[in-house]
């Protein structure tokens, strides 16, 4: 960089940022250590669990989940593609990545949803949060590795940290959007019957915003997976690390197989979380069928249903209520 021919003085923004990071590192060591311990424990426990269970059993479990929330087609696709992962010798690394993504998603949601709720209820919070989210989303993902490595060194924890920061924004945005999008008359109904803000949030806003919030969760998961390679650079075990290694050793096949495994997991998680958000769209999912069977079972509700049918035929809307009330 030339320093002599410019009239604009050099402003050491980078140095300031770096010393800010150092300052945080020095003064909040206890907090960072605590976070590192917890995150490390969560990921390694989950990874151990996923790796310990025989791979074929897990494939069946994943397929069943697909069947329950969506369709038998997803279940079949899951079996085929996950067997491919095993066949490509990427099962253990795939489970490591899955564990990292799940934990990162969990943390991101725990942070994003409350912020989204606050932003939806308070204009000022919303006004502050929005540019911060814009900043987070436009910053190249690689840059998050700097604080991650400064705070946590090398390993899985900085991988999670960078992933969470990168994946957070859609979670916040869609939570805010979902809550703001709840029909205002329905919220008014809650108020008109004397519900407290907490009762309205729990009983009306969150349930009605669930499809949108789940769309946010879906986005968070997808972004987390897209960070897999970058997490690999930070030293987190998994498919990302395989890709990074394949680049440095010019091992094409290894990189292709790891990359393909990321895609397979991404598609699976996307289909499952999308279906979780709008269960009504999947009438042939296992859960929908179970629910219907339960509704159709039980003698009492059966009788009610019969009576209901009868009423419709008798024209419940044509004044039957009146006849009863008029007595």
């Amino acid at each position: 960089m030339s320093e002599n021919d410019s009239i604009v003085p050099r402003i050491p923004v980078g140095e300031w940022g770096d010393s800010a990071l150092d300052w945080i590192n020095d003064n909040f060591e206890w907090l960072l250590d605590f976070l590192a311990t917890v995150l490390d424990f969560l990921v390694s426990t989950l990874t151990d669990a996923l790796v310990t269970v025989p791979a074929l059993v897990l494939v069946v479990v994943f397929a069943l989940v697909g069947l329950l929330v969506r369709s038998w087609e997803l279940a079949v696709g899951t079996v085929i593609t996950f067997l491919l992962i095993i066949a490509m010798d990427q099962w253990v690394t795939a489970m490591q990545t899955l564990a990292l993504v799940l934990i990162a998603t969990l943390v991101a949601i725990l942070v994003a949803v409350p912020i989204g709720i606050l932003a939806a209820r308070n204009e000022r919070v919303s006004a502050v949060v929005r540019p911060v989210l814009d900043f987070m989303q436009t910053m190249p993902a690689f840059v998050y590795l700097i604080p991650a490595v400064v705070f946590f060194g090398i390993g899985v924890v900085p991988g999670i940290f960078a992933t969470v920061i990168f994946a957070l924004p859609p979670g916040v945005r869609l939570t805010e959007l979902g809550i703001r999008g709840v029909d205002s008359e329905t919220v008014e109904a809650g108020q008109a019957f004397g519900a407290t803000p907490g009762q309205i949030l729990r009983g009306i806003q969150l349930p009605l915003a669930t499809p949108t919030i789940m769309a946010g969760v879906n986005q968070v998961i997808m972004l987390s997976l897209s960070m897999a390679v970058i997490a690999g650079i930070a030293g987190a075990d998994g498919l990302g690390k395989e890709v990074v290694a394949s680049i440095s050793t010019l091992d094409g096949p290894q990189g292709i197989e790891a990359g393909l495994s990321v895609v397979i997991i991404a598609i699976y998680l996307d289909r499952v979380t999308a279906a979780l958000g709008r269960p009504g769209d999947y009438p042939h999912s296992g859960l929908s069928m179970l629910r219907r069977r339960r509704a159709a079972g039980g003698g009492g509700s059966d009788a009610a249903q019969d009576e209901a049918d009868e009423r419709v035929e008798g024209g419940a809307d044509q004044g039957r209520g009146l006849a009863q009330v008029g007595s």
Binding site: E185, E188, F193, G194, A304, R311, D317, G321, V325, G326
Partner: protein
């Protein structure tokens, strides 16, 4: 005692709305305020809703009805003025105090039902009770009873999405009924329903109100609905209440051209009752009086029929001019048409129900609740009452007593 009482209510939307109120009070118009970026939604509204009545606020879209009703239960805070419920000023209540009023005194029914789609019909009906912390058994019992009342017994386990629009609004109604409040606010509650179902719901609301004695503040943009439901009606335009009165008062005595034009297309036969159009029974014959008296009365009052009444003013029958003339000429008994063959109607009958009788009888006799003769309606009078332009009737060539009665203010406009 008034259940709801609103005094000089103003609601102005925009920044620093109080200046809008000040400007309005010193004579500024809505347009003046708009230039300053203010929207005056409700302007100087005062009204009382009495215990146990259906009070309808009627106005076109954008006239401020929703804003007005939302100030009654504090969903909106007035810019100026007060609302009191059972004598307590609720205007500036906040937090728990306001919520208590909403739980215990005022419930609401919404235009688009505002049901919770993820809860069953029964849980929706019990919502208010759940909010107020009523235990499960009690609230299920009361929700079931409310559903029964609106004709949805047995539907408690269904989801709102499985119901038709009319049924969903019945759930909305049941939710308000189950809450047990004496006052119900209904903002365009039937406006989203098909006409047939709507009529049905109107009938049902009237029945419920008679049975339970609820005080109902009902908002609508449909004049026929207003006339059908309202014990009294407030006509609202551009944020102001132009007139408050019964359907008959508004039809027959509109305070200004706006209201007059508004009501001119109303089907008057379904609004006006026999009591509104009948003439006082000045010319009646006592049972003990003879043909000479009858003859004299008929000449004096220029009529061809006379009701015959007993001492207790119950109806004994009717005499016709030709029979009177015959009796006077021949000196024999005067033929009296027995009461059973007279065209008899009740004070509360709507005009639409009188036409059948009027085709057979030239004079209808109106009886009150105690079966006493309250008035008479000559066929001509019935037809005259249908004229939709009351302001011009006084200029017509045949002013009748009926016309005078219909417009005590002499067709003021």
């Amino acid at each position: 005692m008034a259940s709801i009482s609103a005094e000089k209510l103003y609601k102005v939307f925009g920044r620093r709305p109080q200046r809008g109120v000040d400007a309005l009070e010193s004579g500024a118009t809505r347009a003046d305020l708009r230039k300053q970026g203010l929207t005056p939604a409700v302007i100087d509204a005062s009204f009382d809703v009495k215990d146990g009545e259906i009070f309808v606020v009627m106005g076109l879209s954008g006239s401020g009805k929703s804003t007005l009703i939302r100030m009654v239960n504090g969903l909106l805070e007035p810019t100026s003025g007060t609302v009191s419920i059972d004598g307590d000023d609720v205007t500036r209540l906040t937090g728990e105090k306001l919520r208590r009023v909403r739980r215990e005194k005022v419930s609401m029914v919404f235009q688009h039902f505002a049901l919770l789609p993820h809860r069953t019909v029964g849980e929706n009906a019990a919502y208010a009770l759940e909010i107020s912390g009523t235990n499960r058994a009690e609230r299920e019992k009361r929700a079931d009873r409310a559903l029964e009342m609106v004709g949805l017994g047995g539907w408690g386990g269904s989801l709102p999405g499985e119901l038709s629009g009319g049924m969903r609004q019945r759930v909305g109604l049941a939710r308000a009924l189950a809450s047990g409040t004496d006052i119900m606010l209904m903002d365009e509650a039937f406006s989203a329903l098909d006409p047939l179902i709507r009529r049905d719901m109107q009938d049902q609301l009237i029945e419920l109100q008679h049975e339970l004695g609820k005080t109902i503040l009902f908002i609508t943009h449909d004049l026929n609905e207003a006339m059908r439901l309202g014990d009294r009606i407030a006509m609202m335009r551009d944020g102001r209440i132009e007139q408050v009165g019964s359907a008959e008062e508004i039809l027959n005595n509109p305070v200004n051209n706006y209201v007059a034009e508004f009501v001119q297309d109303v089907d008057r036969t379904r609004v006006l009752t026999a009591a509104n159009v009948m003439e006082p029974p000045v010319a009646v014959l006592g049972t003990e009086q003879g043909p000479q008296t009858a003859h004299k009365l008929m000449r004096e009052h220029q009529t061809t029929v006379l009701p015959v009444v007993r001492r207790d003013r119950t109806l004994a029958g009717l005499v016709h001019e030709r029979d009177v003339a015959t009796a006077v000429r021949d000196g024999g008994e005067m033929r009296v048409v027995p009461a059973e063959q007279v065209g008899v109607v009740r004070t509360g009958d709507h005009l639409v129900d009188l036409f059948g009788h009027a085709t057979e009888h030239s004079l209808l006799v109106v009886l009150d609740e105690q079966d006493k003769v309250a008035g008479v309606i000559p066929r001509v009078t019935l037809l005259a009452a249908l004229r939709s332009d009351p302001t011009s009737t006084s200029d017509t060539d045949q002013p009748t007593t009926t016309d005078a009665q219909l417009q005590p203010a002499g067709g003021a406009a």
